[in-house]
Amino acid sequence: MNKEMLNNILKFSLVLVIVGMVAGGSLSFVYLKTKSKIEEQQKKEELAAKNVIFKDKGYVFKKIKKEGIEYEEVYKNGKLEGYLFKAYGPGYSSVIVTLVGVDTNFNIKGIVILSQAETPGLGARIKEVKSDKYIFNFWKKKSENTKPWFEEQFEGLNALSLKLIKGGKEYKDLDDKAKEKLKKKNEITALSGATISSNAVLSSIKAKADSLYKILKK
């Protein structure tokens, strides 16, 4: 090995080390600075989500950790009304975190997807809101429904025996009769073109509900 080659190798490594150190250093600095702020924002979002699931006032939440599973008991007027838990599902390009509220029979009160980074236009539509507004009168009508339709279809279903159907029409395009039918069969319609994301939400809820159910039964 001649001297020039050795010099080059040293020079290249030095440059890479310096760049890596500067990048890593500034990243960890900013991460530490923003960490508490980000957590604060997440807490705020979670609180808002709780209010969406348990709509009325007067609910009390009690954090519990049992056999490695974290959940919250929900009380109203001293009576146990249900449970609240987070489900983590590996989606197509992110872990989808869902907050789920159930009553004591594990019928779903509501779900809110807290965080996801699925493909925009496909999987990210799990947060899509159905809109009926037309382009020529959008300033007239205010949108009444701000809840994403994918989350909405979980309401009232049993968390322990959810089923996914794919290939058909999406829930938002169905009429009331067909929606009622789905509810009876405990079925959820998948997003077209995003079965993995849809299934991630559904099976993570099912799995978490299942293990919670088993622990509570003991």
Binding site: N8, K11, F12, V15, L16, V19, G20, A23, S26, L27, V30, Y31, T34, K37, I38, Q41, K44, E45, Q116, A117, E118, T119, P120, G121, L122, A124, S131, D132, K133, Y134, I135, F138, S192, G193
Partner: protein, 197 residues
């Protein structure tokens, strides 16, 4: 001044990242299902593109040519992560709409493409202008594609319904529609260029 004009023309038409250079196609096909997505993706990419172009044109003289690619990737990935941290900490509203697009930008080859093809050979100011104009070109291409696909595939523009009773062809918002739209747009662009000559 003439150079700035030239750079802007390059970004928007002559060297349009999507329709001429055909780079950044992965996010293009994924995101152009609605105008809103296309717009946000364009804005987020433009911001990162300008930032990474400026940083790379500043440090270019310290970087040996043989290790430039890993250095660029490190710079771009760190810059994107910094932006993401700041946005999620201080701008929660923006984070809700833009948040999901930011991680996609790291792997957007427009950023690396411009770093390699332009910022590593030109000054800071020119690189900044190049970042802005390529960003605008990218955003425009995304929005035109998204407009066509959202209208034909969902009968909507910016999430608002357009024609009552028009039955949209859902294939247009699936990948098929993306390829079709892009092919047609490139053909139209080439036709206009041929006529000009």
């Amino acid at each position: 001044m003439a150079k700035i004009k030239e750079l802007i023309k390059d970004g928007i038409w002559n060297k349009n990242p999507v329709l001429v250079q055909a780079i950044g196609l992965c996010p293009t096909l994924a995101v152009t299902t609605s105008l809103k997505n296309g717009f946000y993706m364009g804005v987020a990419s433009t911001f990162v593109l300008v930032g990474s172009n400026v940083i790379i044109s500043i440090i270019k003289s310290f970087i040996p040519a043989k290790v430039r690619i890993p250095v660029y990737i490190t710079v771009i990935a760190s810059f994107v992560t910094l932006v993401q941290l700041f946005v999620s900490a201080y701008l929660p509203e923006l984070n809700k709409t833009l948040g999901i697009f930011i991680p996609l930008i790291v792997v957007n080859c427009i950023i690396l493409g411009r770093a390699e093809a332009f910022a590593s050979k030109n000054g800071v100011f020119d690189s900044l202008i190049d970042g802005v104009s390529m960003g605008i070109g990218f955003t425009l291409a995304l929005m035109i594609m998204a407009g066509i696909r959202e209208f034909l595939g969902a009968n909507k523009l910016f999430d608002l319904l357009v024609i009552p009773g028009f039955e949209p062809a859902a294939a247009m918002i699936l990948p098929v529609g993306g390829f079709l739209t892009m092919g047609v747009l490139i053909a139209i662009m080439n036709y206009i260029n041929m006529k000009k000559r």
